[in-house]
């Protein structure tokens, strides 16, 4: 009796998780589409200044008001998504691919190179995340590209670790041994038998990373180390609106809400594959 109940609950849970996953995937897709076509759908030119209209509160004409140069905030928030989202996706793409390749090779071949690379990743992991990124950004100067490099330098070891430990675990599993006995070359072994089996956890790590990385990029921009003004980017827009907090809180709140809404949904969406996997 109790067993059937548990099974039924599990089924319901699985269905709602799947539903939510689809819902948020659709949301993410819409978000991406909006971002891609941001330049065409915004009501105003995000860079056009009109000082006679500066610091206007939200109205029907300007949904989120205007900033100190009279630029339409709504347009800037949407266009700002381009920088934030695409640089994040590029960043996560690069580190996950690089980390996976390094980790798989290390796990597969082992030896001196493996120990050296793992010690390097130890050192990278020894620095608290943003501290190291701050240092690299300080070294390279501002700019989105440099902020991406700074974050990439500190975050690839995570993927290398996951890929390496998975590869080590897989190396002695019977089907991999069988493949080796049947005469597969190392390249075939890695591409056909190991890589497909480690992609799951890598993908989950990457999905979870998107939200974190987006926030850290925005954080660097907020400190003036990422995207430089006048580029519309959420972090530097919030930083620009910061000094007007007292009188014009919407300058801070509107880009922030966009981050919270869009990001929150995406993060939650990407959390779900892990949940359904665990169940």
């Amino acid at each position: 009796m109790s067993e059937t109940v548990t099974v039924r609950i599990q089924k319901i849970k699985k269905n709602t998780v799947k539903g939510r996953l689809i819902f948020f995937l659709v949301l993410a897709a819409i978000l991406l589409l909006v971002t891609i076509f941001a330049g065409r759908i915004v009501p105003y030119d995000p860079y056009a200044q009109d000082l006679s209209k500066s610091m206007m509160p939200p109205s029907a004409e300007h949904l989120m008001g205007t900033d100190r140069y009279g630029r339409d905030m709504f347009s800037r928030v949407i266009v700002g998504a381009q920088v934030s989202i695409f640089s994040t996706l590029a960043l996560v793409g690069v580190i996950s691919v690089f980390g996976t390749i390094v980790g798989t090779l290390c796990g597969y071949y082992g030896g001196a190179v493996d120990s050296i690379v793992m010690r390097i990743s130890d050192v990278c992991l020894a620095f608290p995340g943003l501290v190291f990124a701050l240092a690299i950004a300080a070294l390279l100067g501002g700019g989105v590209g440099n902020a991406v490099i700074a974050l990439a330098a500190i975050s690839w070891p995570k993927y290398a670790r996951v890929a390496r430990s998975r590869t080590l675990a897989l190396k002695n599993v019977p089907f991999v041994l069988a493949a080796r006995l049947s005469g597969c070359t190392s390249l075939q072994m890695i591409l056909r038998h190991i890589l497909p089996n480690i992609l799951g956890p890598i993908l989950v790590t990457a999905m979870l990373d998107i939200g974190t990385m987006m926030m850290e990029l925005a954080g660097l921009s907020f400190l003036g180390l990422g995207a430089q003004p006048p580029t519309a980017e959420w972090g530097n827009m919030m930083s620009g609106g910061r000094s007007m907090l007292q009188t014009y809180p919407w300058l801070v709140l509107s880009p922030g809400l966009a981050i919270f809404n869009l990001l929150g949904d995406t993060v939650r969406d990407y959390m779900d594959p892990k949940n359904s996997r665990a169940r």
Partner: protein, 278 residues
């Protein structure tokens, strides 16, 4: 246990060396050395001979590794050079700002524990009921808010609208630490609530993100700690200060990690020595 502790301590040595080497190397790559910087500051144009002489005097003409070792020896004596901007010794500047950051970190960890443990237990007891759902949603939201946004939100609500706390911190006081600590605690608690199981290890991870996160929060609230010092130094290209910040944060982080790891093993007798490593 003893053997394990000794092994971990020995493993610490190469990592510490690498940290110092990396922080030294990075700031050397950053370009200008002390001599150029000093000349720039005085605004004089000097001949190459004088620059060379000054370099020789400071040992900057020697090979990189020799320079690194003499820097390391100075470091062990607590001498990290002087700030390009204030001309004060870097080490004492850093030490004077550290307590403020430690206080901020400590208060936010305390707040995190006070917020997340009762809420976590409450959500678990009421699993799949409305309470659980609300707490889980709140933790998702807290997790997706960047901490600079939370800072500004709290500042607007509690400092400007309600006027309970100062907008800009006035020295190291309990009233000033409240908002920055709450900012950090909100992000932290959301993480805790999501993964309540491995609390001890989470504490370590959170100290890491706290150390980095303080940089942003400190500079928003004008909290006079090492994080704000680092951000100011980055804007001024004050490399010795940045170097000190990066290096000491990494050292503190590694040491805290080690202590947590050891205490974890000490507290949990089931974990056999080295049994959990790959």
């Amino acid at each position: 246990m003893k053997k394990y502790a000794v092994r971990r301590l020995l493993q610490l040595i190469p990592i510490l060396l690498a940290i110092t080497f990396l922080s030294y190397g990075m700031m050397r790559i950053a370009g200008s050395d002390v001599v150029e910087q000093k000349m720039e500051n005085t605004g004089e144009t000097v001949s190459q001979e004088i620059v060379d002489a000054a370099r020789e005097e400071l040992g900057l003409d020697k090979p990189f590794f020799v320079q690194y070792f003499s820097w390391l020896c100075n470091l062990l004596r607590g001498d990290m050079g002087t700030s390009y901007v204030s001309n004060k010794p870097v080490f004492s500047t850093f030490v004077s700002k550290l307590p403020a950051t430690l206080l901020l970190t400590f208060v936010s960890i305390l707040l995190t524990v006070v917020i997340s443990i009762p809420l976590g237990i409450w959500a678990a007891v009421r699993q799949n009921k409305i309470t659980d759902y609300v707490i889980r949603t709140a933790s998702f939201i807290g997790n997706s808010l960047p901490n600079f946004f939370v800072s500004l939100l709290l500042m607007y609500l509690f400092a400007i609208r309600l006027g309970w706390f100062p907008v800009i911190s006035k020295g190291v006081s309990l009233q000033s630490v409240a908002l920055p600590a709450l900012t950090l605690a909100i992000a932290m608690s959301s993480k805790y609530l999501r993964q309540v199981r491995a609390t001890v290890t989470l504490l370590t991870i959170s100290i890491g993100s706290l150390l980095g996160g303080t940089a942003i929060v400190e500079s928003i609230f004008m909290w006079d700690g090492v994080g704000k010092m680092a951000v100011d130094a980055i804007n001024m290209r004050d490399y010795p200060i940045i170097q000190a910040y990066v290096m000491w944060m990494a050292i503190i982080y590694v040491v805290v990690n080690l202590i947590t790891d050891l205490s974890y093993r000490f507290l949990d007798p089931r974990i056999r020595l080295g049994g959990i490593e790959q």
